[in-house]
């Protein structure tokens, strides 16, 4: 098991941001008494002292007030990674946030804020340029997402209807290698040592057995985790137990429920969600590209 995880401690209220981050929502506390958005997470509103503080989706725009490049850190996880660009952002909704900055953000410029989950599954704040088309590869974003860019991806079943469109979408997203089908038993170790993402369309148990330990033992930013594609009738909490177990090992678990979406749309949406750091993707029955 990898010990190298980012700082994990969070208060109880901060942990309630995890579902929003998993679904790609920028949700913040909003005071039911006075309407103020609040951040960091609180137990009483500093404006009116109300404790009616539910989460609501907030406008994600903000302006960069200041930034730094953290070159020296006492934390072993961040020490193993390149220097981190950190920003102080004034969010449009009125709060101030400290965010991990994408390298493309311009100093003093406009950003788009996001809640994301770090390698340990804990919530962090990230900021990218507000008007970003295709973003350059960013070392810290690799730790916050399952972006296929530069990674080796294994899809379990070469014959699944999703597999061919997935291979295309993964390659278009810059995957360094895409494998489909389980390797010969004697090649297991070699493949396990370099596979970064496993996409399981069927029962993940044999895959976890084959590749889990090797993936979990890796500290590098390449190894990402698991995408579990569920059947259409999968319950809301599908994958929760597996996610919890794997999160402890620094491996992300993403669950995807295609519903009745056609494979091409699903593949595109799935690769998009992996790049965005989502942990859950549920497509509506009539989803189109």
């Amino acid at each position: 098991m990898s010990d190298l995880l980012p700082p994990a401690a969070r208060s109880g209220p901060a942990l309630t941001l995890i579902p929003a981050a998993a679904h790609g929502r920028f949700d913040l506390q909003r005071c039911g008494g006075c309407g103020s958005f609040l951040y960091p997470m609180r137990d009483a509103c500093p404006v009116c002292l109300s404790d009616d503080l539910d989460l609501q989706t907030a406008p994600p725009g903000g302006t960069l007030l200041s930034e730094t490049m953290i070159r020296i850190t006492a934390d072993p996880f961040f020490r193993s990674r390149p220097a981190l660009r950190q920003g102080l952002v004034r969010a449009d909704c009125g709060v101030t946030m400290i965010a991990i900055l994408h390298r493309d953000c311009s100093p003093g410029g406009r950003v788009r804020l996001a809640l994301m989950l770090d390698r340990g599954g804990q919530p962090v704040v990230h900021a990218r340029p507000e008007t970003a088309a295709a973003m350059a590869e960013d070392p810290h974003l690799r730790d916050l997402t399952m972006t296929p860019m530069g990674r080796c991806v294994l899809i379990d079943d070469p014959h699944h209807p999703l597999t061919r469109p997935l291979i295309g979408a993964l390659r278009a997203a810059g995957a360094s290698e895409v494998l489909s089908g389980l390797p010969d038993t004697r090649d297991h170790a070699a493949v396990a040592a370099r596979v970064d993402i496993v996409i399981a369309t069927g029962d993940p148990a044999p895959l976890i057995k084959a590749f889990g330990p090797a993936m979990a033992a890796r500290d590098d930013a390449g190894v990402a985790g698991w995408v579990l594609v569920q059947g259409p009738g999968a319950p809301d909490d599908a994958g929760t137990a597996q996610r919890a177990q794997m999160a402890l090992q620094g491996l992300r678990v993403m669950t995807a429920v295609p519903g009745a979406a056609p494979p091409d749309s699903m593949a595109e949406a799935l690769v998009g969600a992996m790049s965005e750091g989502l942990r859950e993707l549920r497509l509506a029955p009539n989803a189109r590209r």
Binding site: P7, P40, L65, E67, Q86, R90, Q122, V125
Partner: protein, 386 residues
């Protein structure tokens, strides 16, 4: 209208030689400071009826534990978790206690130890907001937090790294006269500018060296000090302020700015009457803010002020005369006590090699507690020579 501190004096300045690392506990350093207070004042610790302690490393103890540990029976007890503002706040509370007769002799101590891992441990769980909303984004600690403030201040007011360097160089020059300073070699502008970056634009010499150590002083009424034959300084004025200016988007001023007029009114003087200044120097940007906030120049004029003045002991604006935390070291929560104790030495003519001539009034400042994105705590005192 704030009441004055008539009759309250400060005496017995104690600064223990710091050590970069120490096996002694925080309690051990506090006990050593208490021993030094007894030696310096001739007052037995069992005759002191007040204790005020500031330390990051006492857990699971607090002040009450120390009363039994050190054999003190007290009427005034204060554990002050305010980091660099603790010294000023300790003094202010002790002052009211002795003024009102709630206590007669209060020992105020700042003490901390330092082990190779203690700094990282204290960063990781400094406050709930830092734990939730700062540390996970890069684990930069205070260096990153102040880097954000420094860059903003530089862009807003035109301060350059050379301006901050002037502060550091002058303090280092002062420190060379202080045998207890941990930094013992001169610092040049080239050294300063070319030092390794820690969190841009903060570089190595913008950062204090965490260390183990202790500082202390006694608070009492004037007649008690006279009866003991102690040199003392009068507490002419004191203010504190916490979470002032919460609507400033980025911190450009400390809490002192909210009540600075009260401070000078109480002391019956103006900024020009301060003969020696000890700022809280966790980072040079905060020093510059203190020059502005305490009225030595206007907001935003810090860079010009630093370019126009000589901050060394023999200069026209003696500042951080023992070298400050940047050159002496920061012994945890005793960081704010360092300046206050040096101000006390200056005002009582006991500063020895770092003594400024003719000190009538000395100012000491405290600041700290980056709970999230700004230093929340602040305090200021003016001591008057007698």
């Amino acid at each position: 209208m704030q009441k004055d501190y008539d009759g309250v004096v400060v005496a017995a300045p104690v600064s223990l030689p710091y050590a970069q690392f120490s096996d002694r506990t925080a309690q051990g350093w506090a006990g050593a400071a208490l021993r030094a207070l007894v030696r310096g004042s001739g007052i037995a610790h069992t005759d002191m009826d007040g204790l005020s302690i500031a330390s990051f490393g006492l857990a699971p103890d607090s002040g009450i534990s120390l009363t039994q540990h050190f054999g003190m029976s007290v009427r005034h007890l204060d554990t002050v978790p305010l980091g660099g503002a603790a010294a000023i706040v300790s003094l202010r509370r002790a002052a009211r206690a002795v003024q009102a007769g709630d206590a007669d002799v209060v020992a105020c101590i700042g003490a901390d130890t330092n082990r190779p891992d203690s700094f990282r441990q204290s960063l990781a769980n400094f406050s709930r907001f830092a734990q939730d909303a700062v540390y996970p984004m890069g684990a930069g600690g205070a260096n990153a937090s102040f880097a954000l403030l420094t860059r903003h201040y530089m862009e807003r007011f035109g301060a350059t790294r050379q301006d901050f360097g002037r502060i550091c160089l002058a303090q280092r020059d002062n420190a060379l006269k202080n045998p207890h300073a941990l930094m013992k070699t001169p610092l040049t502008m080239t050294d300063y500018l070319e030092a390794r970056p820690v969190a841009d634009p903060v570089h190595l010499y913008d950062c204090v060296m965490p260390c183990a150590g202790a500082e202390a002083f006694l608070v009492m009424r004037e007649e008690t000090a006279k009866a003991q034959g102690l040199r003392f300084a009068r507490l002419a004025a004191a203010i504190e302020g916490h979470n002032q200016f919460p609507d400033d988007p980025v911190q450009i001023r400390g809490g002192w700015a909210a009540h600075v007029d009260s401070l000078y009114a109480m002391a019956g003087c103006a900024p020009a009457d301060i003969d020696v200044l000890q700022t809280y120097d966790d980072y040079p940007v905060i020093v510059m803010m203190q020059f502005e906030d305490l009225g030595f120049c206007a907001k935003g004029e810090g860079p010009d002020f630093v370019r126009a003045h000589d901050l060394r002991i023999g200069g026209d604006f003696p500042h951080n005369t023992s070298g400050g935390q940047l050159s002496v070291g920061q012994a945890g929560a005793a960081g704010g006590h360092l300046g206050l104790v040096e101000a006390l030495r200056q005002a009582t003519g006991q500063a020895g090699p770092t003594q400024v001539a003719g000190v009538r009034r000395a100012m000491a400042l405290g600041f700290g507690m980056i709970n999230y994105d700004r230093g929340l705590a602040s305090g200021a005192v003016i001591l008057e020579a007698c």
